[in-house]
Every structure is written in C-alpha cells, then in structure tokens.
Amino acid sequence: MSLLRQREIPIGITLIAGFLMLIDYYFRAEIPQVAGISTTVQRWAVIIAAFALLIGLINITRIHLNHLMKRTRGQWIFSVWCLFIMYLMIVVGLFGTVRHPIYQWLYTNIFLPIDAAMYSILALFISSAAYRAFRARNFEAFLMLASGIITMMMNAPIGEIIWKGFPVVGDWIMMVPNVAAQRAFLICAVVGAVSLGIRTLLGMERGYLGREE
C-alpha cells in the first residue's frame, strides 16, 4: 500500500492537530509557547476550508453532468439549469466581482425570492401540521397542545389583546420548562460530542477518512 493511502498518516495528523487545539484552548496561560503554533494551524485550516468550496463545485458538476449524460427522467432538465446558473454566477462573480450589477441582479431577483419562497412554504406546512397533530388524545398531548397554543399566541400581538395572560404564561413556558429541556438536550449532545472527539483523537472513529477498502 502506498504511503499516501495509509490510514495511520491522517489519524496521526488528526491526533497532533486535535491535541494542539485542546492544549491551546484549556492551557493557554500555562503553556504560552503553543499559542503561536496553534494560530498558524488555525490559519491553515481557514485556507484548507476554502478548498472545500472547490471540491463542492467539482462534486456538483460531476453529479449533474452524470444526470445530463444519462438523460435521467424528470431530473436532467433541472441539472442543465443548475449547471447553467451555477457557472453563470461563478463567471460573473470571478470576472466582475460579486458587486457586478449582473451578479447583484441574479442574486436579488432570482436567488433571494426563490430561496425565500421555499422557506415561506413552511408556513403552509406548519399550519396544516398543527391542525392535524394538535389533538388532546391524552394528558401528554393536551399539555403539548396547550403549551403550543399559548406560545403561539404569545408571539402574535393579537394574543395579549385576547388575554393578558398569554405573554406571561408563554414567557414562563419558554424560560422554565423549555430552558430546562433544552439544557438537558445540550448536555447530552455535548457529552456525545466529547466522547466522539476522544474516539476521533484516539483513531477509533474513522468515518471522516471515508470507506475502508
């Protein structure tokens, strides 16, 4: 196996970089010498991350060219449009900068409204989902229904016109039961992240290296 394909090399780089960042974050005052190296490595990370954009570009091009070549039913026409608009924006952005009127026009008049429309469709789905899901079938469902209605009415100015208690009770729901539950989720997630970090540093977690051959 060639040296470049050996998994020990990326695992070793991960180990060194990971420990360097940990030492810098937690023992900056005790070991100031590590700060300079850590700053340099962080700058490298910014530069390397910029290359990820290029990999994304290559990947999207490859996937959509594949659809185009195969004339995938119901897809290829969208692939043509995707590639056309992507490369149009790249060319205009590269040669005219992102302040170029054409780039600005494409962004403001095509991308922004389409993206906002996609997001706004959520309002319809949420309305329908709330109507169908909020049934007081049992006590737990009733609690969810009641807290959902109260926080919803808290967020609408008309809520406090209907009942002055909506903002008060809604704020209590948001700051007491919600914060307690969110903290529990956060602590669980962080414990999971720490264990994943330790496994990655020790080379036990290898998902980021891709599929084993």
């Binding site: 700058r43 967020n155 809520g159 948001m174």
Partner: protein, 282 residues
C-alpha cells in the same frame, strides 16, 4: 364507501382549503394593516439595552451575518433594526463579517441599503470584511490575531488602508458582538470560540424557530439579549422608532396565528364529538 360524518369532516379539512385560507389571511392585513399595538418583550428589551450599554463612544462592534437569503423575510428586519441601532450610536466603529454563511456579506450589503448611516463613512467608521471560510477555525483565528487573518475587506481594499481597522489586534479589542444567525454554523460556534474564552458581550437575533433552542444561553447570561423572529424584529423597530417590514408583517402573524388557533380548536371539537358519538353508538 362510508360517508364521513360532520364531526369527522371537521377533523380532516382538506389541506388545500387550509393553504388557501392561510394565504388569504396573510395577504389581507398586508394590503390593509390592522395596526395592532406591539408590546416589547423582556428578551428584546435586554438586547436593546445591551447595545446601549456596550456601544459607547470609542467602542468597536462586530456584527456577524450568519443567515441565508431564504431567511431574509424574517431575519432582514431584525438585521436592519439592530444595525440601525448601532449606526445611531456616535463614534462607534462597526465591523461586519461572516464566518458561517458565504451569503452573509451580500445580505449585509442589502441590510446597509436600508440603514440610515448617520454620517458614518465606509472604511473610516464601518467595514464589511466579507466571508471567511473555515467556520470555527476561522472564528478562533480571528479572535486570536485579526491582522493575521484579515488582509483585505470585501471589496479588496487592504485593511492597512482602512482607519476603522486600526489598532485592532484581537477579540479583546472588541466591545460588543451582535450575532445574526439562522442555524449552524452560528451562535453556538461563536459561543465556543469567542464568548467563553474572551468573555465578550454578545447579543443575538435569530429565527422564531431557532429562538427556543437559544433560550438557555439567555438564561445563563451568555447572550445579553435575544431578538427572536418577526415579532422580535417588530419590537426592535418600535424601540428604535423606525417602523419597517417587521411592523408591517406582524398583523399577518396575528391573523395567521388566529386562523391556526381556530383550526386547532375546531379539530379538537370534531375529535371529541366524534369520539362521544362512537361511544354512544357502542
């Protein structure tokens, strides 16, 4: 096929009818505003007061635009109102950047179009540094060594030529950080790399759907205040006395919420009535 009874039909109104009703109750108040009064919530007021407290003459404020174009209808009014509040402050240097969303600088430019600059000049009083790839690594690098990471602004001007950047070495030179975010990367990454190690004062603005998840950081004091959703944007517009898109949209929020409230109540009446009828039938 068995015909559905009235109570069953009340539980299963066609989603197309619901969608049409939602669209109608959004459009009507936009065309004919109801002008419902807006009261300011505690979290928004805290954010406003934090900006007042930390954006003093001689201070430096960083505003991060970490949301995407699709979030503009909800995040745009918050961004405009909070940015306007900072621009209202005399002798404050404003640094705009993005480290999580590459669209951030474009949306920052769009925001600035709606902001009254109050005599502030680009390069001297405020700057758009653009997007830095790398997410958390970029945040950590910026916090440690600003001149080491930032060489040019969004328009390609070297930062040596921008008086607004003079004397800024690290995050310790920043007095207030305003994070406008809609997801990941966003506030949590800044919390890890900026707020916790440097103890910088932070306020935030985010989507209504993200707000509940961010409340623990408000309760812990890591966020001095949080402006949530279109409602928060409307409240902030009221505080700075500059009604805008959020104020206009709040009536639509009220009508849609009332519609959903009524539909949920009708659905539950149908559910209990149908269940009672089935029990009576044995």
């Amino acid at each position: 096929m068995e015909r559905k009874g009235f109570w069953d039909r009340l539980q299963s109104i066609d989603h197309r009818i619901l969608y049409a009703a939602v669209i109608v109750v959004i459009i009507i108040p936009l065309l004919r505003p109801l002008g419902l009064p807006i009261t300011v919530t505690d979290a928004t007021l805290k954010a406003y007061k934090a900006v007042d407290e930390y954006a003093k003459p001689g201070s430096v404020v960083v505003i991060a635009f970490e949301f995407i174009a699709g979030n503009w209808p909800e995040m745009g009014p918050i961004a405009v109102a909070m940015t306007q509040h900072v621009f209202n402050k005399p002798d404050v240097r404003i640094i705009i950047l993005a480290m999580g969303r590459d669209e951030g600088p474009i949306l920052a430019e769009r925001t600035l179009r709606y902001v009254d600059k109050k005599g502030k000049e680009y390069g001297r009083d405020y700057v758009n540094l653009g997007f830095f790839a790398g997410g958390e690594a970029a945040m950590a690098a910026f916090a440690r060594d600003i001149p080491g990471l930032v060489k040019k602004d969004y328009y390609g001007t070297p930062i040596e030529g921008l008086p607004v950047m003079s004397g800024l070495k690290s995050l310790s030179d920043i007095d207030l950080f305003i994070c406008l975010w809609s997801g990941t990367p966003g506030w949590v990454e800044y919390l890890r790399q900026w707020q916790t190690p440097y103890g910088i004062a932070c306020v935030g603005g985010t989507l209504g759907i993200v707000g509940p998840g961010a409340q623990p950081y408000v309760a812990a004091g890591q966020l001095k205040g949080l402006v949530v959703g279109l409602r928060g944007g409307g409240e902030y517009e009221k505080l700075i006395n500059k009604p805008g898109e959020a104020t206009a949209g709040l009536d639509a929020i009220s009508t849609t919420h009332i519609l959903i409230f009524v539909c949920v109540i009708l659905g539950n009446i149908g559910y209990f009535a149908a269940r009672g009828a089935r029990r009576r039938e044995g």
